[in-house]
């Protein structure tokens, strides 16, 4: 009975939303803010990827808030899982193929992650995606050899320093220009690696922070005690 009511409710909600969506314009968004940003973003920030300039320049404070939310989530998960880090019986090692494959993939994943971070202002990608790839890169060898553990002190240092670097760049812009996280250091030539001023530095800080947080989270999840069914 309860299931039937829920299904009816969900179907009704879907129908209602569909009726609302039928009034939305498709293919011709009333993009006033977007149009303005598209016109002046390359001249203002010097980044070829306009999404990057929205994320880091027009909405940089928002990104700082997102970083703190992610930090709170990772810290909360680590706190919840914390007391059970010691395991009585660790998982067995993976087979030869998994260990050799993980060792082969590790440098490739590292290079791909750094490429995505450093080219965040030119091609799709950036700090968040590159951080995820870095976390996956550091987790893959751990999947083959579960007995080894990541160095939690180093991870916390990297995370703290990267967060401090993000805020320091923002404060520098605040004192030099009067706006928090305003673009600095000149714009350079559109489409080259060393362009867009401080945006690549900010994305590098974001990438290191996200990567450190997520790999610490993955290591915490992997190190909690396995439970037999």
């Amino acid at each position: 009975m309860r299931n039937l009511t829920t299904l009816l409710f969900a179907a009704g909600l879907g129908f209602l939303l569909l009726v609302l969506a039928a009034g939305l314009p498709y293919g011709h968004p009333p993009m006033l803010v977007g149009q303005g940003i598209l016109q002046q973003a390359p001249a203002t920030t010097g980044a070829a990827n306009i999404v990057t300039s929205v994320v880091l320049a027009y909405r940089g404070l928002d990104t700082l808030g997102e970083l703190s939310i992610l930090f709170a989530a990772a810290a909360g998960a680590g706190l919840v899982l914390g007391g059970h880090r010691r395991r009585r019986r660790p998982d067995p090692d993976g087979g030869f193929i998994l260990i050799a494959g993980a060792d082969l993939m590790f440098p490739l994943l590292l290079v791909v992650g750094l490429y995505v971070i450093l080219h965040g202002h030119l091609t799709p990608g950036g700090g968040f995606q590159g951080g995820v790839i870095l976390a996956a890169a550091f987790f893959l060898p751990l999947l083959g050899r579960p007995r080894e553990a990541l160095d939690h002190t180093a991870i916390s240092w990297i995370e703290g320093l990267a967060g401090a670097a993000f805020i320091a760049i923002g404060l520098w812009a605040l004192f030099a220009r009067g706006d928090f996280l305003a673009p600095m250091l000149g714009k350079g030539v559109l489409g080259q690696l060393f362009s867009a001023g401080t945006l690549p530095l900010l994305y590098a800080a974001v990438g290191l922070k996200v990567g450190a947080e997520l790999s610490g989270l993955l290591a915490d999840l992997a190190a909690t005690e396995a439970r037999d069914p």
Binding site: P92, V116, T123, P124, I133
Partner: protein, 86 residues
Amino acid sequence: MNLAEQSAALLMGLAIFLGLIRMMAGPTNPDRLVAADTLTVITTVALTGFAALFASPLYLDVALIYGVLSFVGMVALARAIEGNRS
């Protein structure tokens, strides 16, 4: 779209259907995992095809990241299915 692109889309659609059938019906969990892995490979190829269709190299990055990371995800799922057997 010319004939080559249309036939490529048709073949990929067929492959996706076959993988989907195996994923829904597969009698055991390893079957479902292998079907999901097949779907990720087909998707990587499809993303490359979209890059060719839109005539823009930007979409190749998506295919690269997808191909690399789906491997990691599937290896983790395979480790989870392995259980405590050593």
